[in-house]
């Protein structure tokens, strides 16, 4: 399927291989999506560049006012990291529910983002948390881009994995913030979500919301952020009526597709309302 498989130990080396292969090499980490795509023929790669041996690629740490996780961090690592569980709870909860144990042990968070599926659990959490991806290019430059801006369409990322590498993710840390992730699928594990949502709020001491992040999938071509709902919540106290109004607003704004396999548009809108309301309820309780 491919001619050569490289395991560089530095980022520079990895970028050099990509540059010298002139578009015929592609970045691989867990490969849980990419290998299937290559087998199906939907993605082509003459060479694969495995970034998991790069120094520091598995790091999870606080960097200033941000939480950083490297491109090699797997779902299992994210789900079991005390740091992520405490400071980016939605991401840990999302990571713990992706696929199966085997997939979580191998697949990476960054891979889940770059694969660009509209309902990727961890990507929905990262969009709600306003996370940024750090991208390194073959010319040596680096760029920080918000995860929600990495999408070109369903299954299509703006990240070109033949000429650039997402090296890690930065999640802004906000004082007194809490976050939560919820999903419903047609069985209890190893199934794509009918709807998933991630919500974060910062609750001030007077109990009003000073910041909110709300995202969901699959309700559009990419993990969708609900800025109107965030706006609505700002300055309000999470009472039952505020929660219901916010959830209904999200349901009105969402444009999910009818899916024979995963549920009708109407049901998904209804479910979105329920899951957002439940998320806000749980955040209101856990101050």
């Amino acid at each position: 399927m491919w001619e050569d498989y490289y395991r560089p130990s530095t980022l520079d080396e990895a970028l050099k291989i990509l540059a010298s292969c002139k578009g015929e090499a592609r970045v691989i980490a867990g490969g849980t999506d990419l290998v299937l795509d290559i087998k199906k023929g939907s993605k082509k790669a003459k060479y694969l560049v495995d970034i998991r041996d790069i120094d520091g690629v598995n790091v999870i740490e606080e960097k200033g006012d941000k939480l950083y996780l490297g491109a090699g961090v797997t779902h299992t690592q994210a789900a079991s990291s005390i740091l992520i569980r405490n400071k980016a709870t939605a991401l840990a909860e999302a990571a713990s529910q992706v696929g199966s144990v085997q997939i979580r042990n191998v697949g990476t968070i960054v891979g889940n983002v770059v694969n660009a599926q509209p309902a990727a659990d961890t990507a929905v959490a990262l969009v709600a948390l306003e996370a940024e991806a750090e991208i390194a290019f073959t010319d040596g430059s680096k760029q920080l881009v918000k995860v929600e801006e990495l999408y070109e369409g369903p299954g299509k990322s703006k990240v070109d994995s033949t000429s650039s590498i997402v090296t890690g993710i930065y999640i802004p840390l906000r004082e007194r913030s809490k976050s939560v992730f919820k999903r419903l699928a047609r069985r209890k594990s190893l199934a794509l979500p009918v709807i998933n949502v991630a919500v974060t709020v910062v609750l001030e001491e007077g109990h009003h919301v000073s910041y909110a992040g709300v995202a969901a999938g699959p309700v559009g071509p990419q993990p969708q952020r609900f800025k109107e709902v965030e706006e609505f919540l700002r300055g309000k106290t999470l009472t039952a009526s505020v929660i219901e109004e916010a959830a209904q607003l999200a349901a009105r704004l969402a444009q999910p597709r009818d899916s024979v396999l995963r549920g009708s548009k109407e049901y998904r809108k209804d479910l979105l309302r329920v899951l957002i309301a439940r998320s806000l309820q749980s955040l209101a309780i856990t101050i």
Partner: protein, 328 residues
């Protein structure tokens, strides 16, 4: 809101092909000088435990231990036809053929033992590789008897054929007794229904199955647990969806079956009501556990939230729709 309910499902199921369709099986049993036996049977074991069932029946009949039995199965070049492993029939039909084959060998072993002990054959029995006379343990082992049987030129191989073909029902009235044996079961399921999402969680299942005589209780429990898991999938998620004849669910990524997280604890209750026409009173348990689960779950949903699902699977969306119509 989450609401709980309990529901029951009862079933009866006929063993074998019935309706005049030919239904029979054959097996052979040969005993060696060391008291171990070789069984040939066409019975195909797909993991349900039929090979072990045959070993247990032959060992029981000959008074030896299951580990003394070597079996060759499901080889069309060498093993006698036992019919397919369908219709929950292998214990009932092939088990019986194996028992008959072993009984033929036992006849000449009894004759040999009587000769060695200088007694009448009527009081001879075999148990745990030992020979008993009128209930008293003798100095002889089954292996010694087998060696004597072979040295004295007696028959050391038995052939069993068992036929359960029934008459067909009356072609005019469709009345009659179509099957050779019937099995019965009742299952109870407890569920929790999320009234806002329609999601159903099965909390536990209790499954009581009449199996005649339990030849291998642990294997029966395995059959019951597996059948309940399949029944749960049938009730809640399994669905072949077609688009103009083209399946939209061609792989297990789309055609969902229960995972370990979906299957609740299953309490298996084995009910032993001996079936006079079965080997040692045994019937079959292959398919029955899959039959009562879906009705039990659907009834439990009704008990929990008062909605009646009339088309499977009971997906969250379907239940949510029914709840909506009820004003939830």
């Amino acid at each position: 809101m989450k609401k709980r309910g309990i529901g029951y499902g009862c079933m009866m199921y006929a063993i074998g092909f019935g309706f005049g369709r030919p239904d029979n099986a054959a097996a052979s049993v040969e005993i060696g000088e060391d008291g171990t036996v070789t069984v040939l049977s066409g019975c195909a074991d797909m993991g349900q435990g039929s090979t072990e069932m045959i070993a247990l029946i032959v060992a029981e009949e000959l008074g030896i231990l299951p580990e003394d039995v070597q079996i060759f199965t499901a080889d069309t070049a060498t093993t006698p036809d036992a019919g397919p492993s369908t219709a929950s029939r292998q214990t009932y039909v092939t088990g019986h053929a194996a028992k008959k084959a072993a009984a033929e060998v036992k006849e000449s072993l009894i004759e040999s033992a009587a000769e060695l002990l200088g007694v009448k054959p009527e009081g001879i029995t075999f148990k745990n590789r030992e020979v008993y006379y009128n209930g008293e343990k003798t100095r002889l082992t089954v292996a010694e008897v087998a060696a004597h049987c072979r040295r004295t030129g007696r028959k050391f191989i038995g052939w069993g054929w068992h036929n359960i073909t029934t008459p067909d029902v009356d072609p005019e009235t469709n009345q009659g007794d179509a099957y050779a044996a019937y099995t019965f079961a009742t299952q109870a399921a407890e569920v929790e229904v999320d009234t806002e999402t329609g999601e159903v969680t099965v909390l536990r299942v209790v499954a009581a199955h009449d199996v005649g005589r339990a030849i291998n209780p642990l294997a029966i429990e395995g059959q019951i647990e597996g059948g309940v898991a399949m029944g749960l999938g049938y009730a809640l998620m399994e669905e072949l969806i077609l688009d103009q004849g083209r399946p939209l669910t061609p792989t297990l990524a789309e055609y969902l079956i229960p995972t370990a997280q979906d299957v609740p604890p299953v309490v298996s209750l084995i009910v032993e009501e001996e079936e006079p026409t079965g080997p040692f009173g045994a019937k079959g348990v292959g398919e029955p556990p899959n039959i009562a689960t879906a009705p039990a779950i659907i009834n439990a949903i009704y008990n929990a939230v008062g909605v009646r699902v009339t088309e499977l699977p009971a997906t969250p969306e379907k239940i949510r729709q029914l709840l909506k119509e009820k004003g939830y």
